[in-house]
Subunit: 321 residues, 2 copies
């Protein structure tokens, strides 16, 4: 049909609507406008209803807030088409370390399909009144119960479990000792697709970040790791980066996702195993520009929502593990 | 999978979020908040880019506005689950005439799946500063060119043609003489699904509205009709109602859609033909609660957008046919 396959027209859209790059500090403006979600797929509305059935009598049930909003400008950014490739980063060691360079000012939010049919999403989210200690607490607190995980994205989050919950909850250990190399089993919707993944949070240095540069950059919290999924449980399908640092008025969180058969992901994969072929055959073909956009929307919604509830949630439950 | 088929949980969602019915005048409030669209499927973004390629040099190209907004409250209403069946109308003569009763105050916006796998959507849209003459002009002006139709919903409208364009453009005839029984061929996306339909705009009395009640109700514009589609081109798959009347500060538009094999639609269908079976077999099964919601979102977006451009578009092109 002639109205399909019009993706090549997208750059015209970008230039006409005048995207341009914005300074990284743009989101700190207190005058920013917010938009309520104008759409959620029916299957997510049904998941919300199901979540509501189980969460209402939890002590933290009042933090389950289905009236979700995002900054108007963030939503508009994602409606302006994919990023140009020169605005993106690869998952190489050199590229990920650019995130630690204070002079690097990427477009705040966007997505693209990279080589190897690799999904790519980038975002920066400002958490007003938050601190990296709160983010660390969130990552060791929420995997304990499905319902805690649901607070983060009431429409799309289904289930969450951790391999070693005793270690996760042990407050005598550091954040890193509790969370890293403690597989986290996650079920959620990305767009209308339910996915089952295993996140292995790791020391960012193990993922390729330079230790000295990391210390200098001010990123005092990392919830980064590799991810495998139910199609290829024995492999690594993606690299996920969440880096938080304290700035004026709150915390900023820098996120990156790469999912697919990008050659630079091979450095994170066990060598000589059949799963590489499986990733090329089973994961990469599922990554399309649609998937990239859906992932970018998911990230925008869940992290702006977490930003809205985290400081008060921490105030009430921050002493709980 | 246990997380599917949770639709029965939706009423709990409705009651918890406290929908309630709102007075029909609620949208007239000038203080109402607006939200930018927080999501559009990738295929619609690609259609927008394609539309932009052909519209930019049209004399009305400056009315092609991709930064679309809807009232925040309207978007929220559609995220509260389907309507209870007692809040809906059937396409029977008795039910459609309730729309003409000034005492009938339905919920402003919603959707449901009715008997016969029938899609149902209801809405009321306020057009500030507009008049029913503008709406009539819109319906005889826009089918002349695909690009005019694109102004209405830049992401989702693809093509529009009229059977007898000479009659449509003849300004010596009345609106009714120009538009009614002049088949209108429409291609658009509802959700991510491209549809090809034929709208037969008709005298509302032919559709079952009471002539005296219609005159008394103040609805001075109707763009209502039956619709058939490419699956069953020889039949009638739906009844569509658009009724406009002038009120304080502008125009209000009342919309209703019924698509499927509802028994009350048979009164609008030629008798004894095989298409009835086709509708039961081919149209009705495609109508799910998802389709209903997608149609409700489409209606919300396109009519609030038309409301935003119509007065100034009419001022500039109202003398053109």
């Amino acid at each position: 049909m002639k109205r399909r396959n019009l993706f090549l027209a997208a750059p015209a859209l970008i230039s006409t609507i005048n995207l341009g790059s914005k300074p990284a500090a743009a989101q700190v403006q207190p005058t920013q406008e917010w938009s309520t979600l104008t759409y959620q797929p029916m299957v997510l509305q049904q998941q919300l209803a199901a979540n509501q059935q189980v969460i209402f009598d939890k002590p933290f049930g009042h933090f389950f807030k289905p009236d979700m909003t995002v900054p108007t400008e963030a939503a508009k950014m994602l409606l302006r088409g994919p990023l140009e490739l020169e605005q993106t980063l690869s998952p190489s060691v050199a590229d990920i370390n650019r995130l630690l360079d204070l002079a690097y000012k990427p477009i705040e939010r966007g997505y693209a399909l990279l080589e190897g049919d690799t999904l790519y999403v980038q975002s920066r989210t400002f958490f007003p009144g938050a601190h990296t200690d709160m983010l660390k607490w969130w990552f060791v607190w929420h995997p304990v119960e499905n319902e805690r995980y649901m607070l983060w994205y009431p429409f799309a989050h289904v289930a969450n479990a951790i391999e070693d919950s005793v270690r996760l909850k042990n407050r005598s250990l550091s954040y890193e000792e509790r969370l890293y190399n403690n597989p986290n089993y996650v079920t959620e919707y990305i767009g209308t697709t339910p996915i089952d993944i295993v996140i292995n949070f790791k020391d960012p240095v193990e993922l390729g970040f330079d230790k000295a540069a990391l210390a200098k950059s001010g990123f005092t919290a990392s919830a980064s790791g590799t991810v495998s999924n139910s199609f290829v449980p024995d492999g690594v399908s993606s690299l996920m980066v969440h880096l938080g640092r304290n700035i004026d008025g709150g915390m900023e969180l820098i996120n990156r996702y790469w999912i697919g058969s990008h050659p630079e992901l091979n450095r994170l994969r066990p060598k000589g195993e059949s799963f590489k072929e499986k990733i090329v055959k089973m994961i990469a073909p599922k990554m399309t520009i649609d998937t990239c956009y859906e992932m970018a929307v998911h990230d925008m919604i869940e992290f702006h929502h977490l930003a809205q509830i985290l400081p008060t949630l921490y105030q009430e439950f921050g002493q709980q593990s």
